[in-house]
């Protein structure tokens, strides 16, 4: 039962990643693109956790933690660059 739920969950998050990618390509404004990239990192975190689940390896939690850190920092620095023209003032 868990196996089928895992397959469903991995499929829906992968489909979500594709939808986000569509928004990155189409997004009429830069803020839409940043938002779609941020959502992509969150979906990638979910996929990594599910992959660790399926493969039974605890190392994927560290990878997911790193993804969360780097995704947050990159989103904030991109917004900061657009707002102030500089990242660290």
């Amino acid at each position: 039962m868990i196996t089928y739920a895992l397959i469903f969950c991995i499929g829906s998050f992968a489909l979500g990643l594709l939808l986000n990618l569509w928004r990155v390509v189409r997004g009429p404004r830069i803020s839409d693109r940043i938002l779609a990239l941020d959502t992509m990192t969150v979906n990638a975190i979910a996929l990594l956790i599910l992959l660790g689940f399926a493969l039974g390896s605890p190392i994927f939690f560290e990878v997911a933690m790193l993804f969360a850190l780097v995704g947050f920092v990159s989103t904030v620095s991109y917004c900061r660059f657009l707002l102030r023209g500089d990242i660290i003032e």
């Binding site: 969950c9 991995i10 979500g16 969150v42 904030v76």
Partner: protein, 143 residues
């Protein structure tokens, strides 16, 4: 896939949270694609994706507790980090949108007369602020 055999309650709980998490993640990403303008688009993924990842993490915690008998702390760390950072990200993206695409006239009127705080700071609203050389000892205007 090396999925361990679990007692029935754990199996049902893990399956439930996995399905709910997957559905919420998909709804968040679909809302990002479907909603009409940037401020409503901001609403869909920042809430629903956090719920989706939260469901997956709860499922993982229950699975590890039932299969190995220990409480895993990694999930709590990731949840804590996502819950702390997602409002900051949403605020920054909204600010980028407001400063690049809107003026104070095009925004709805705030309830009190103080105006939109994002536009009341002195200096130009978008792009690089002019960095004037400051006399030593003079009060810092940009702070």
């Amino acid at each position: 896939m090396p999925i361990a055999d679990l007692p029935l309650w754990a199996e049902i709980a893990v399956t439930f949270f996995l399905v709910v998490g997957g559905l919420f993640g998909l709804v968040g990403s679909f809302g990002l694609l479907k909603l009409p303008d940037p401020m409503t688009r901001l609403h869909a993924p920042t809430k629903a994706t956090t719920l989706g990842v939260g469901g997956v993490l709860i499922a993982s915690m229950i699975y590890i507790f039932a299969a190995e008998g220990r409480v895993s702390m990694h999930e709590l760390l990731i949840t804590l980090f996502l819950v702390i950072t997602s409002p900051i990200t949403a605020l920054f993206i909204a600010k980028v949108h407001i400063h690049m695409r809107e003026k104070p006239e095009t925004l709805p009127e705030p309830r009190d007369a103080s105006g939109w705080a994002s536009f009341t700071a002195d200096g130009p609203a978008r792009g690089v602020r002019d960095r004037q050389p400051v006399e030593p000892g003079a009060p810092d205007k940009t702070a």
